[in-house]
């Protein structure tokens, strides 16, 4: 299985809720970047560790995140 987390970065408000619910602690807020709204958006540090639980996406108040998983049959 391969999990994939994608962000609609311009919509992110940098609230950090996704970061707080990630069981693998692979999300973080990128302080070096400011998006169009003036926030430091969320990002993923290690895709491979993602277990596609979807927590981050489910809690994100702004529906910024899409999580998919791909299975090789």
């Amino acid at each position: 299985m391969k999990a994939k987390v994608t962000f609609n970065l311009d919509r992110c408000k940098g609230c950090g809720l996704c970061v707080s619910v990630c069981p693998k602690q692979i999300l973080w807020l990128d302080e070096t970047v400011t998006n169009v709204k003036g926030y430091h958006p969320s990002g993923i540090s290690d895709q491979d560790k993602c277990i596609a639980c979807g927590n981050c996406a489910r809690i994100c108040p702004d529906s910024v995140i899409t999580v998919t998983k791909t299975k090789e049959d």
Partner: protein, 178 residues
């Protein structure tokens, strides 16, 4: 003499505080002053701006609609307010937050990399002070010293060390355009 100024930027960049600092200094120097915030429905984020008038005469309209001066702290603000500036007016751009900053040819324009300058002082938070210093230097509207004196009475006790930092930020801004 009547200066009609708009200061605009993201919420959180301290545009309201810049305006208040200016009118306080203006009052100290004996001018008539007014400050009006534009207030939006959003608690955070979005854009914020305020109108500042500093004048030797009694002030009529406190709302500035055709500014002769503009401090634009980000791109959207520049886009929105620059077209309103009177020809021959002054535009101060926070070039750290504006991609490809460029100004109208018929205004006096200064690009000030406030974040970089503040960064040099070790504290991004004083970027607005850098802009203020730049503004004062570029316009001669007020005396730097007036604001420096005010800072001493604002930051007292455990915060006293911030006086120095803020003064250096003001001066850095002034030096940049000076």
């Amino acid at each position: 003499m009547t200066r009609e100024l708009i200061i605009a930027g993201f919420g959180g960049q301290g545009v309201m505080a810049m305006g208040k600092t200016l009118i306080e200094a203006g009052l100290k120097e004996g001018y008539n002053v007014t400050w009006v915030p534009s207030y939006g429905p959003e608690m955070r984020g979005g854009t914020a701006n305020c109108s500042v008038v500093i004048s030797t005469e009694p002030i009529g309209s406190p709302v500035v609609t055709q500014p002769n001066e503009l401090i634009a702290m980000n791109g959207p603000s520049l886009k929105r307010f620059e077209p309103l500036v009177e020809p021959g007016g002054l535009v101060l751009v926070n070039s750290s937050q504006v991609e490809n900053p460029a100004c109208r040819p018929d205004v006096r324009c200064y690009l000030v990399p406030s974040m970089e300058e503040a960064g040099k002082l070790g504290n991004f938070k004083v970027a607005n002070m850098v802009m203020l210093g730049a503004y004062i230097q570029a316009t001669g509207a007020l005396k730097l010293q007036t604001i420096e004196e005010m800072l001493a009475s604002v930051f007292t006790g455990p915060k006293a060390h911030l006086v120095e930092l803020n003064i250096r930020a003001l001066q850095a801004g002034a030096a940049y355009v000076g």
